[in-house]
Symmetry: C2
Subunit: 292 residues, 2 copies
């Protein structure tokens, strides 16, 4: 396993972690500068942040800092109420792929979606099997374009508590079944984004990570699972503050061949988003060295 | 599949559903009377409620009403910081088995526990593999006594969002692996309590229910998954108000041979626990007929 204790060359910051600082939204350009000042070599930004900052301006700023993208957030949300909705989702994913390519991202992360409308509180249907079928078809269609462009797609299995509204792929095993069906040759065009927050509880995690192997492990996200967890979306903990066995999971991931960044992704409306971004970033660096 | 639309003979009420009425704790004896008045033939009470009401008094009241127990809540919480804690947990489970026997329960439901101390916010260790090993040993030891007494043990896989603090068995597959290891002959001494709230999201649910079969399906719990879910423990929905495909899952369970009660278990600090118990029970009856 790589030694992270001496530096933070393998630290990446998902920009959601510091998108709010002291309670206020912060522009992506500021976040990039804050990361660059600290010698952080990679980030993973969100589409809405990039849109606000401008795609080309963001690409220039990243090049100027020599900064990489460990991933781009996000494509997905494939299920829809009708054919027009399904087509619109595919179009939107095509644009996301293009943006990821412009930014030279390592992969486009897919939060695949679930029951359409559920995120707004009113699901248009409740048949999760149908949603999974639409997700499968959506990934298949997007993959065709992503292969042409040369942008790997990374399916992110989300925690089962988000199965109704955000992603109906909820285990690494399920994600890998889809990868095997759509990319049997393990070309690297399709894989997974493994976020410890979503999968740490899974008794099959070690075996499925080994099954994934280097070709399928396209991204690795870290944070921690707080006790108690006060919100299903935005109460993630800082690495080392709670119960996830980070080093153990990283060991499994690296034993499978993963050599990329450990990307910090912390949604924390009640804690870290209220603090100065400098404090959050400095803590990420310290914890990356000590507990990741 | 059985026709539930004409009556509610297969409805059971987990007493947690009405343990608070209009915000106030209600004695078990009152709940039993409220259920009996409505022709509800079965309940599943909690140990603390039974202790407060008196074990023998509760047994007498149930007999007087000809009321059955679809289960008894609950044993489990096996992991502990040290040997003394592990032994204390086994002793406590032995008492729970005896109580279940006195009340002639169909099974003792096991919420198996997870990282010891986590429920109080301070886990004494974070090694979930160790917790799972202690759970396995605890079930094995308790099963030996339960077999002598003749009280079936029902492992309840809990939702993965409760993996750290309440139960580190989080899928039906995992629960059945343990059943197969400890009761390969499917004697009926060990099985599962299947609560739709915990397992509805699982892409392997149908297959694992078929695997479980009649011998392993000892209890079936219903409620619904609210959008949004505002609390990880106590924000369950009334059947039919949200996204769980209740009839589909009951069909799978009955196809596997289950013929017991559909037990309503709703923890709802923000809604149903604030209403009159009569309203909650009448709604359970109506929804049992229409959507379960």
């Amino acid at each position: 396993m790589r030694d992270f204790s001496q530096d933070h060359r393998w630290l990446s910051i998902n920009t959601a972690t510091v998108r709010k600082q002291q309670g206020a939204e912060v522009p992506l350009a500021t976040i990039i500068d804050q990361c660059a000042e600290r010698g952080i070599r990679a980030i993973s930004p969100w589409r809405d942040q990039v849109a606000a900052a401008g795609l080309d301006a963001t690409a220039r700023q990243l090049r100027a800092h020599g900064m990489e993208l460990s991933g781009y957030c996000r494509g997905g949300f494939f299920p829809a109420a009708d054919g027009a909705g399904l087509r619109a989702a595919l179009d939107d994913n095509r644009r996301a792929i293009d943006e990821a390519k412009t930014l030279n991202a390592a992969c486009l992360v897919l939060v695949v979606g679930a029951l359409p409308g559920a995120l707004g509180g009113t699901p248009l249907y409740t048949d999760i099997t149908r949603a999974r079928s639409e997700v499968f078809d959506g990934i298949a269609a997007s993959l065709e374009y992503a292969r042409q462009v040369g942008m790997p797609l990374a399916i992110e299995p989300l925690h089962p508590m988000q199965a109704a509204d955000r992603a109906c792929i909820n285990t690494l095993e399920h994600a890998l079944d889809i990868c095997d069906a759509l990319d049997a040759q393990k070309t690297g065009a399709l894989g997974v984004a493994l976020d410890v927050y979503h999968v740490w509880w899974d008794p099959k995690l070690q075996a499925q990570i080994a099954r994934a192997g280097k070709e399928r492990l396209l991204a690795f996200h870290v944070c921690d699972w707080r006790l108690p967890t006060r919100d299903l979306l935005s109460d993630r903990g800082m690495m080392g503050d709670a119960v996830i066995e980070l080093k153990k999971i990283r060991q499994w991931v690296e034993a499978a061949g993963f050599e990329g960044y450990a990307e910090v992704e912390i949604f924390s409306a009640l804690d870290w988003w209220l603090r100065p971004g400098q404090e959050t970033l400095d803590t990420c660096i310290a914890r990356h060295r000590s507990v990741v």
